[in-house]
Symmetry: C2
Subunit: 272 residues, 2 copies
């Protein structure tokens, strides 16, 4: 079982499952978005990071899922199971870390849970909104669509800070045919988007962060840039990196050569 | 730091924090309710329980928080970090456990996250709704109000299955002045309700589950019955157990003797 397989299996029973966020209708002409993201010690971060950094990253990663749908964040729930090595000062730092980001994005901390575990576990839930029926899904790309990213890539080794691309996501509403955020590496996430859309992806050129290699840009995680598609002549912001084509759903090519969908699969505990 | 202290501290900055659920306005004449609940191996359950039981309990406990506000559940997010001792069969059982409960309560599984940790960690989020301004809060009890429970108590040793009191909660809308669910024992949870309401609580008699002792009813957790108050002459369902009085906020008495607010504090890892 890996995460994609389980998602597909559950998605057959529960049709809301499968995109960056769940999209559910709400009164008043909007859809609500829900996303939930674990940040677990030794899986998503190490103790080398400060309490503030861990708190910030947990929130920023969840906000990135809202950005991927073109949504606006509203409320946030922070559940924290602290490890034996933490203390009251650490906990205060953890909650201080995302404070500025929450205020700037007008996301209200609405609740959470507090417990303890052998390793630190945080689960971040964000509820957001988007105009009814307008959320950007992974499944809307067509053959011929151009593929874009919102910024240069290179993975966690080259990413000093995660900036959720909320403004960029909202600008794509009504323009992009498909969108998601790159959390597990371009190769694996583009495979997911192409698979959900039933198309294959051809990459021409990939913009790199300073010092990053092509391999890191393809297979490292934690970029948190947006990955999206649009008809080739539509004006959209971002950097064009390739084109969708009819073919085997989910296949990814770079300059004509197949790219395996290897990236960070958190569930498999290894590069998948 | 214990959970109540942290909740109070965060509640000063973020006013939505502090009750069983966060209550937030939504278009269309309803308020949305959000609750999030950890279920952690060794803290909330042991491996003696089956995968189905662990899955069921995780969902039932979160639904109990919705019931405590008089709400109706809408959507559920299940985040699961599996431990090394689990396998694909276990995971399938975990998701099967709450299936019937989710369907009966018309709660749609809308998403989640999947990861791994040294011990099993589940975080359950439920979004529900309640008529605008009608949610049952902990803070509305007045001196003179009668205190009720929805059923006999006795704690986890005597509770074969958790049944979220959703129907009972909805019947209290417009009738109860304050309400919460009993998760950490009557003594601690009544202390919390009385403290939030600025009153003191006098218990006369406590209905016991078969075989349970008074001490277990007061200080064991996991009852998941509703605890609520109403003006003494108002007709409300349930079992009357005492009366609120003016006095020191949060103090609890049983037949005239003070009862310490000791119960299960998950954060303190021990009876607090």
């Amino acid at each position: 079982v890996n995460e994609d397989e389980l998602t597909r299996r559950l998605g057959r029973k529960w049709p809301l499952i499968g995109d960056d966020c769940a999209v559910v209708p709400s009164p008043g002409g909007v859809d609500l978005l829900f996303t939930t993201d674990f940040s677990i010690e030794g899986v998503h971060f190490t103790r080398r990071l400060s309490a503030e950094q861990i708190g910030y990253r947990s929130v920023a990663r969840a906000l990135s899922d809202i950005a991927a749908m073109g949504g606006t964040p509203l409320y946030c729930l922070i559940s924290l199971a602290v490890a034996p090595w933490t203390d009251a000062k650490w906990i205060a730092g953890f909650y201080r870390g995302p404070e500025k980001l929450l205020r700037e994005t007008q996301t209200a901390l609405a609740g959470g849970d507090l417990s303890h575990a052998r390793q630190l576990v945080c689960d971040l839930v964000i509820c957001g909104s988007v105009l009814r029926g307008k959320a950007l899904m992974r499944s809307g790309a067509h053959p011929g669509d151009a593929i874009y990213v919102s910024g240069p890539l290179g993975g966690w080794r080259h990413k000093p800070i995660i900036v959720p691309r909320l403004e960029e996501g909202r600008k794509l509403l009504g323009k992009a045919t498909a969108c998601m955020d790159i959390s597990d590496g371009l190769a694996l996430d583009l495979h997911r988007l192409a698979f959900a859309s039933g198309v294959e992806a051809h990459l021409d050129a990939i913009p790199l962060l300073s010092g990053a290699t092509l391999k890191q840009a393809l297979h490292d995680g934690e970029d948190y840039e947006l990955l999206y598609t649009a008809p080739p002549r539509r004006r959209v912001p971002g950097i064009r990196i390739g084109t969708m084509a009819a073919g085997e759903p989910g296949r990814v090519f770079y300059q004509g050569k197949p790219v395996p969908p290897l990236g960070y699969d958190h569930f498999q505990k290894r590069r998948s």
